[in-house]
């Protein structure tokens, strides 16, 4: 028994579309690009194998992710979706860097909250190298060296 309307896969492969066609639920005839892309990158038999090796309720996700990756690869033949992963890592690194900077500033301000008085500023200015003087201070524990 065949389908009156072939799925996109069987149309492109120019064959009959059986009622139990593995591609049918995931490559509908109204979206030919979907199968065309995965076919171009993976090949029909590889796609069929990848669908068959998972449980039925997961096959939609397989088809979707294969299409996504195929699309990325066609758009960027050198890196495909791996290019996106690289950019994501760079963005994450950038944000972690920003976060570390701000956290360090917060930690410093927590340890030595800025005061309005001139005495505190004088203490900070005492050592041009940014190292607190070891002389007694009434403003809390001294930090002898920041580095």
């Amino acid at each position: 028994m065949t389908n009156s309307t072939r799925c996109a896969a069987c149309k492109q492969l120019r064959r009959r579309c059986p009622s139990d066609c593995i591609f049918l639920p995931y490559f509908p005839p109204y979206n030919p690009q979907r199968f065309s892309y995965v076919h171009r990158i993976y090949g029909a038999s590889n796609v069929g194998k990848m669908l068959q090796q998972v449980e039925e309720h997961e096959r939609g996700n397989v088809a979707d992710s294969l299409y996504y990756e195929a699309y990325c690869r066609i758009e960027d033949p050198i890196y495909g979706c791996v290019g996106i992963i690289t950019v994501l890592h760079e963005e994450i690194y950038h944000l972690q860097y920003q976060l570390a900077k701000i956290q360090a500033q917060i930690d410093l301000l927590k340890a030595h909250p800025p005061l309005q008085g001139l005495e505190y500023s004088a203490n900070l200015l005492a050592d041009q190298n940014g190292v607190y003087a070891s002389s007694p201070s009434s403003f809390g524990p001294s930090i002898h060296c920041l580095y």
Binding site: F27, M50, S65, Y68, Y71, C81, V82, I106, L109, P114
Partner: protein, 229 residues
Amino acid sequence: MSSSSSLSSNSPCAACKFLRRKCQPECVFAPYFPPDQPQKFANVHKVFGASNVTKLLNELQPHQREDAVNSLAYEADMRLRDPVYGCVGVISLLQHQLRQLQMDLSCAKSELSKYQNLGGIASTATHGLLAAAAAAAATTAHHHQQFNFMTGGGGGGGGGGGRDHHHHLYHHHQFFPRDQPQQQQHQHMIRAFEGHGSNNFDASGLLIGQLSQFQAAGADGRRTPVDPS
């Protein structure tokens, strides 16, 4: 020296070994699938197939092929580890991490401004101290964050021909809710992709933000809702 030796002066590349054929001097695979890395070709062959890889490589300039092979090998490896989501699973997890970091950064900035406002404008020296502490902390963070998944010489910094347009992807993007189970996150990401359907879709838009629906064949009722538990 015997001239009747049938041994090749070069051992066949991993691809030709796998395919059980003679490795010609002009073999397209040889530079990228050395014989000491048999698994690399085995994975790529399993997911993409040798002829598809050949077609892909033939469409590229020679200097682009190494990065292409390494990225294909990575994708194949991810697909074999996760037959359902492959690299898409990695992408959705990274997106989640990125979103989390954005929220953390936003909270940290707000906390910093509270401290700064409490003390009024700090002195020049305090500014210097804050900058120094920030730089020291950031340097430490940098050392922990070196990332290079592209082993085999391709390098994360190699090539770059197709990557530049990705660099402004994430500035204003919506993310899926972080408390969704992982599977839903992956599906959300995929669903967000496909509805573009348009031929003008470019890879930079594949990331969150501009994605619409990726989900296919909704009309034929094949989709069953994923149990969030």
